[in-house]
């Protein structure tokens, strides 16, 4: 531990922030600075603050966050690639009073899982879908994602993504927002403290709406991928602001009236 204050001096203060009990003691395997880690932390902080840990079941995807169940101290299921929202549907339909979330990356949700994503939204399942969009496939070594930006270099777009070969980056949050079954669709990020505060508010609202059985809540988190983008964490957040947030601007896409 490193601090400039002594123990007795600290004791005179109150603790205003600490790691929540809803995160296990297992160290995150994520790369330094990875947005997944922040997203996990925020999600579990909200579950902790709302006091719903004992009634929450989460579904982990395939991708960098395949090990999410090692870090989130709630009952978890590991889904097949792309199927987290179908698995979440199965859980929620048999236990409608649990708080269910599906946590997915851009390949899981917008490539192989597109049908499940559209239909879970179309059915208006009362779950939270948390979508981490870093425009790349991290776990498998940095291939192109449906959300990869035009011109962006990945291992499967080594000279930069072109429309002719690979089509356009997909703004899946806007697509699901068009479906009447979605109740709350928002796009956030975690690159600054204020962005994290906004995300926390969004996730808190989403769980509240789930309690009220309002329909699907879809929270996209535009994130960095320092390793895949081949930058330092600090550089990657700068690149995120200049490139990702122009394509995927943060803000509420669909809010309840």
């Amino acid at each position: 531990m490193d601090t400039v204050l002594t123990e007795p001096e600290l004791q005179q203060m109150e603790c205003v922030y600490e790691k929540p009990d809803t995160l296990t003691d297992t160290r995150f395997h994520y790369c330094p600075g990875c947005g997944h880690s922040v997203a996990h932390r925020v999600l579990m902080e909200v579950v902790d603050e709302l006091g719903i840990a004992e009634r929450t079941v989460g579904v982990a995807p395939v991708g960098c966050s395949v090990f999410a169940y090692q870090y989130m101290n709630v009952d978890m299921q590991e889904a097949a690639h792309g199927r987290a929202s179908a698995v979440a549907t199965g859980i929620k339909r048999v236990y409608p009073d649990t708080y269910v979330f599906a946590y997915q990356g851009d390949g899981d949700l917008a490539a192989i899982g597109t049908a499940e994503t559209i239909h879970v939204a179309n059915r208006g399942e009362n779950i939270l879908v948390m979508f981490i969009n870093n425009a790349i496939y991290g776990m498998t070594g940095g291939q192109m994602a449906p959300t990869t930006l035009l011109g962006m270099k990945t291992t499967t777009s080594p000279t930069g993504r072109t429309v002719e070969t690979a089509g356009f980056p997909m703004k899946i949050a806007d697509i699901v927002a068009m479906l009447p079954g979605t109740y709350f669709v928002t796009r956030q990020s975690v690159h600054t403290a204020n962005a994290v505060r906004q995300l926390k508010k969004a996730v808190t609202k989403a769980f509240q709406y789930q309690k009220e059985k309002k329909g699907l809540c879809f929270v996209e988190v535009v994130s960095n991928c320092p390793s895949g983008w081949k930058m330092t964490p600090v550089q990657s957040n700068e690149w995120l602001v200049q490139n990702m947030l122009t394509m995927y601007p943060p803000g509420d896409i669909k809010v309840p009236k």
Partner: protein, 96 residues
């Protein structure tokens, strides 16, 4: 004494430096030392921490615990009745 302070779990820190970027007081720096994982961890280098929690909010690995001085609470000393009604008198509780 500074208004706030932070404690870093230096063995879990990965030296990503996002907290350094986030700190409005520029109080955090990378240590020249490394932890058992091989990362340079962060340390507090000034005593002007306000306990704003920005660093903890951006920390991917939940490394940071944040402290802030307790708000002075009001303590009820007396309630006086007079012709105009009830008046409550409070003072800052110095013990807290």
């Amino acid at each position: 004494m500074a208004k706030g302070s932070v404690v870093f779990d230096i063995e879990t820190c990965k030296g990503c430096e996002l907290c350094i970027e986030a700190c409005p007081q520029e109080s955090i720096q990378l240590s020249p030392n490394i932890n058992a994982q091989g990362y340079h961890y962060v340390v507090l280098v000034k005593d002007n921490c306000t306990g704003c929690t920005n660093c903890a909010l951006v920390c991917p690995d939940a490394v940071i615990t944040v402290y802030r001085e307790r708000k002075k609470e009001k303590v009820l000393v007396a309630t006086i009745s007079n012709v105009t009604g009830n008046i409550t008198v409070t003072i800052d509780d110095e013990r807290k």
